[in-house]
Symmetry: C2
Subunit: 411 residues, 2 copies
């Protein structure tokens, strides 16, 4: 008998029929003897409908009041699921974030969970009830309703699992697990049985949008075993956990992530004086633009070239800021490029294997793909290439790192 | 500077545009210097939509969970109005029933208010904020969300006005006040400037559906001046208050109420023994049928005739119960009639005026309308007549009691 937290997202509870299917699933687990806490999102589309309603009043809805409105979305689904369970003879009770109580800070629309009171839930579990909790929402110390921001239901699930010391937190989605890369790009992409939190973080932040990053961080921090599964298909999914078996044979890399959302900006011929990086990036940061990769080449003739990437949506804004900086610094020129893509190989196996990066560069060279920027971390190597080569690069790397073997050994 | 509680119903907040209009209205009061607490219903249709959603899961939705769902309706409107006020530069804050806190018993779907914590609201008023409160909902001592049942928003308004000792509780509706009778029946019907709680109770329970009866009872009990006004038309409305000016000249009757929803049942030739009334009505009550008028004629030949009215929806059920009783009591026969209507004259002025009933009977006799049943209370006289005479009777009485004078003196 295990204690499991299960989280179902918006499409899994998008209609009453879907909610009935979720109830069937939960019933099966309950009858197998598990204690269950179920976290739900709002019906798909409902949160947007509520936000649109608020925006009819004001383009910039008051954050406190917006939370009062959007939190109603989950309040409806939790009660519907509790009803559907009770109809099946499974005792159940629903709780809003306030009722649990999930205490957050007061940062409306993007609050952070501070503390979860587990007493009420433990009492219900002991009494044999399935507890259905509204995801995405909480309450601050003054009793104001807060929300965690988009995708926050995953975080609620993980936080509850941590507070209850659950055996597993299961995140039900519309995919059956985490893949070595996007199956739409590489037909031979495979579902991973297991992946580490670190790898998952790199995969997620690089564009594999299965799980909310904050939820993975939270799970890693509190060591909550996290499993990604398909809501309505059977299967083991992918378990995200700590890297306990480093000595066992592991694949060198776990997956290949990519991202077409970035653009590149270069300021050329900047006088290379101490503090120049701050002089360039300070104004960018002050304009609230997030920078991803940063590369500064070695200087020659006392000038240097400085390149970084930003989200494509921020490209024009960043270009203007950089033009002004270039003038002030007496730099030679600013050049930009939006036709780029980032491809990354990710894997904890890199730590114990040399030559991973050169194997990556070799594979790309074989396909005559020019590398524009390189950035490395302990468990990943990212390159920026011309966008049109993206699919080719991903397929070449998937093969080079032996990810598309039909029956991968796994761990 | 007064403290006013204003309640707006579902049609007044049925769209974002309407909510903006309500905000304009509230702003005007605020700028005139009043302290304001605004109570809102859900957008019209929303409560039904939510109930339908729950009924898709179960014909008999679990009451606790149903309250969790339907309470979201008001939660949306209060936040929208708070936003609309803030947009107009009026500081405002929204509170759910739980946030106020409006403590109720645990009778889900039909809870009763036990206590209202006025501290938070007083603090906000002192700080210059308009407080927007969700009507219809509360929380029980265990933190479960409760609702007061249909029309409960009026009750929330009155209860808040009582707790805050407000100067007035204004109920905004789609009519501009309480009329001497239904203007669709009598074109000369007039808006009353003032009416007593007792009269309003008689008018409401007799079919003038302007206000929820519970709210009027509550207002009377705590002596909260209640005013019915039109949401979007200017005008003084009708003030419902205690009868302070009995010595001043008053109209004998304030209004004429009527009701087509009843049916009549008579059990004839019942042996007139002690306890016969209970023997007849006990089984009716046991079948959960509410009885309105009851008339027992004097007995002759040691038998009596016993007549009562029930709601037409209960007529068939009541008839069956009565048939069985008639057999047991060895009564002669049971006869029934659904083609009846009840007409009542209501007014505190009756207390000090003799002959009101006979004036009523005279007016009806002049029109050759036969009276089937009569029932009287301290401030009303009701008669049952054949349904087809209803409009004629109401018009005749409206004239006989001088209610259609074009410029009524009023008080």
């Amino acid at each position: 008998m295990a204690l499991i937290v299960q989280k179902f997202g918006g499409t899994s509870v998008g209609t009453v029929e879907r909610i009935e299917q979720v109830a069937d699933k939960v019933k099966k687990f309950r009858e197998a003897g598990d204690d269950l806490v179920v976290v739900l999102s709002a019906m798909s589309g409902e949160t947007n409908r509520l936000i649109d309603l608020a925006k009819k009043i004001s383009d910039q809805p008051v954050p406190r009041e917006l939370d009062v409105i959007v939190s109603t979305g989950e309040q409806v689904t939790i009660a519907l699921l509790a009803m559907a369970l009770i109809k099946r003879g499974i005792p159940a009770v629903s709780y809003t974030g306030n009722q649990v109580r999930i205490l957050t800070d007061s940062a409306h629309n993007k609050a952070r969970i501070l503390q979860i009171d587990d007493q009420k839930i433990r009492g219900d579990l002991k009494a044999g009830r399935v507890v259905v909790v509204a995801g995405f929402q909480g309450v601050d110390e003054h009793g104001n309703i807060t929300t965690l921001g988009r995708g926050g239901s995953d975080t609620t699930g993980v936080a509850l699992a941590a507070a209850l010391k659950a055996d597993e937190c299961q995140i039900y989605t519309d995919v059956d697990g985490v893949y070595t890369t996007d199956p739409r790009v590489v037909a031979q992409a495979q579902r991973l049985d297991k992946i580490t939190f670190e790898e998952m973080l790199e995969m997620a932040s690089l564009g594999s949008k299965v799980l909310q990053i904050r939820a993975v961080e939270f799970a890693g921090k509190y060591n909550v075993p996290l499993r990604v599964l398909h809501s309505f298909q059977e299967g083991p999914g992918t378990l995200i956990t700590i890297d306990e078996e480093e000595s066992m044979e592991q694949p060198i890399i776990s997956g290949i992530a990519f991202n077409r959302d970035e653009a590149k900006l270069t300021i050329r011929g900047v006088p290379d004086t101490p503090g120049v990086a701050f002089k360039i990036l300070g104004p960018i940061s002050a304009a609230n633009i997030e920078v991803d990769m940063i590369v500064q080449n070695v200087s020659h003739d006392n000038t240097t070239d400085f390149t970084f990437t930003v989200h494509r949506n921020d490209y024009d804004k960043a270009h203007k800021v950089l033009d002004k900086t270039a003038e002030e610094l007496n730099a030679r020129e600013v050049v930009g490029d939006t036709n780029i893509a980032k491809v990354s190989i990710v894997g904890v196996g890199m730590r114990s294997h040399a030559g991973v990066a050169s194997r990556m560069f070799e594979a790309l060279a074989k396909e005559s793909i020019n590398i524009q920027m390189i950035s490395t971390s302990e468990i990943k190597v990212s390159v920026v290439i011309e966008e049109k080569y993206l699919e080719l690069a991903v397929r070449a790397l998937h093969t080079a790192f032996e990810l598309d073997a039909p029956a991968r050994q796994g761990e």
